[in-house]
């Protein structure tokens, strides 16, 4: 076994993968949010549709999207491996547990939170990503160029109450997942420092509320304005 595979098989190495993929997905979320903010523009969806076309055609974006897919798969695969390892480490559990007094609920339930987010992600990708790539969606003309009208697909989707409710709830799960994951990733990388750790904690606390809240605001905004 080479030193690389040996390292990646160790508990610390597996946590390294979790941290790196997690941090990359946090970057992805930030970019995703920045782009989707255009749904709030009062321009009939022009800016959003032009952005959507750019996202499916730009080669650099393509490379980043493959990195995102790899990160999601890596994050999931390693969490399953770690979950099994951790479960095996305590074959007989305690009759009474006082875990709530020494750790946060989110930190103890990252697997459950992540599973819900993964299921949501599958549905989310089918609704928009799949439709954009292979679904028969209407087109619009801006000037002389034809664009797929993803904006209308989004508008229609979020006129359904259950879709809006699902998205808002899923963002709640994402918020809790990030409330632990953000600062935890830095700790796994060994980045714990008297000067920077309080800032990382503060940014993480802000991020886990603001980002899911803005994502949740999109379906709510569309639902209540259309």
């Amino acid at each position: 076994m080479s030193w690389v595979t040996k390292t990646l098989k160790s508990t610390l190495g597996r946590k390294l993968i979790m941290a790196l993929t997690g941090l990359f997905l946090i970057l992805f979320l930030t970019g995703h949010l920045a782009g989707n903010i255009q749904l709030f523009f009062n321009d009939g969806g022009q800016a959003f549709n032009i952005y959507a076309k750019f996202m499916t055609s730009n080669p650099i974006v393509k490379l980043l999207s493959y990195l995102t897919y790899i990160s999601v798969m890596g994050h999931v695969a390693y969490s399953i491996m770690l979950g099994q390892l951790n479960k095996a480490a305590r074959p007989i559990g305690y009759a009474q547990s006082g875990a709530s007094t020494n750790s946060t609920w989110a930190s103890r339930n990252m697997g459950i939170l992540g599973t819900v987010i993964l299921v949501f992600l599958a549905g989310h990708m089918y609704s928009f990503w799949y439709q954009m790539h292979w679904g028969g969606i209407p087109t619009v003309m801006y000037g002389t160029e034809e664009y797929k009208d993803l904006y209308t697909v989004v508008q229609l989707a979020f006129q359904q109450t259950w879709m809006v409710a699902l998205y808002v709830i899923a963002m709640g799960f994402l918020g809790f997942h990030l409330s632990h994951g953000f600062s935890s990733a830095f700790q796994s990388l060994g980045l714990n420092h008297v000067k920077y750790s309080p800032a990382i904690k503060a940014i993480g606390n802000l991020y886990c509320i603001v980002v899911p809240a803005l994502f949740a605001a999109m379906p709510l905004y569309i639902y209540f304005t259309s």
Binding site: L85, N86, G98, T101, N102, S107, Q187, S188, L189
Partner: protein, 249 residues
């Protein structure tokens, strides 16, 4: 005080085990938790029953021998060792649940006694520290900044009781191992073997069957010696920089 004790009884390592309930009367608030168990055991011995087996030694909070998972927390409700826990932390008439440390790497030997040899083997895997032979070195011959000495001492406070493993939802020994890695990595005397030490101790920790770290912080909150999880971050740094730069294939 009158108490009801729900205690894990297990004849030997291969026995399935189960809870037994014992009433104990005549308990003083000033007794330590272990003295309370001594009272119970005297009563059991007088009745000709097998006393409850539990680990204990110094009874002054410095040896790390006592354990016990009391009412869902290692070493009970206070952040101290079980020997330093007193019955005034409990209420009259309370039912107290006492379980052994639960981890695959800590097999139950009998009742509340578990084999914590896995922790010893992690220390052994760390190996030796090089020192100069010859006469006894002068005091302060190697200058060590006060802040570094304090950090190393904070890590060296670990008494190896295993409360971190017991508290962790993954039965991970990261806090223990990181304290042992840190106390030597911080000091100039421990620098020579630091890379090999980090690699070998982590490898041993994994092979013992401990879980991974989820950074819940439960270990730090329950550690009777207040070992900080900043040590875990330091171990991660030590380990990653070691595997990247060491000569060990």
């Amino acid at each position: 005080m009158q108490l009801t004790l729900k205690i894990w009884r297990q004849k030997n390592a291969s026995d399935k085990g189960g809870f037994a309930t014992y009433p104990v009367n005549h308990v003083s608030k000033d007794m330590s938790f272990l003295e309370m168990l001594d009272v119970l055991n005297e009563e059991l011995t007088e009745k000709g029953e097998d006393p409850v087996h539990f680990d204990h030694d110094c009874r002054e909070g410095i040896c790390g021998t006592c354990s016990l998972y009391i009412n869902g927390k290692p070493h009970g409700p206070l952040q101290t060792t079980t020997c330093q826990l007193h019955m005034r932390s409990f209420n009259d008439g309370e039912t107290i649940t006492i379980e052994p440390w639960r981890a695959k790497a800590f097999p139950v030997l009998k009742d509340l006694v578990v084999d914590r040899g896995a922790l010893d083997r992690i220390i052994q895997a760390g190996g030796y520290v090089n020192v100069n032979t010859g006469g006894v070195p002068d005091a302060n011959e190697i200058p060590i900044p006060k802040t570094i000495a304090e950090l190393a001492m904070d890590a060296a406070q670990c008494i190896g009781c295993g409360a971190c493993v017991a508290a962790c939802k993954n039965a991970s020994a990261m806090l223990f191992t990181s304290a042992k890695v840190s106390q030597l990595a911080l000091l100039p005397q421990g620098r020579v073997e630091r890379k090999t030490r980090a690699e070998k101790m982590v490898a041993q920790m994994d092979s013992e069957g401990f879980g991974a770290c989820t950074n819940t912080g439960a270990c730090e909150a329950e550690c009777p010696k207040g070992i900080s999880i900043t040590n875990i971050a330091r171990m991660n740094r030590e380990y990653f920089s070691a595997v990247i730069s060491s000569d060990n294939l």
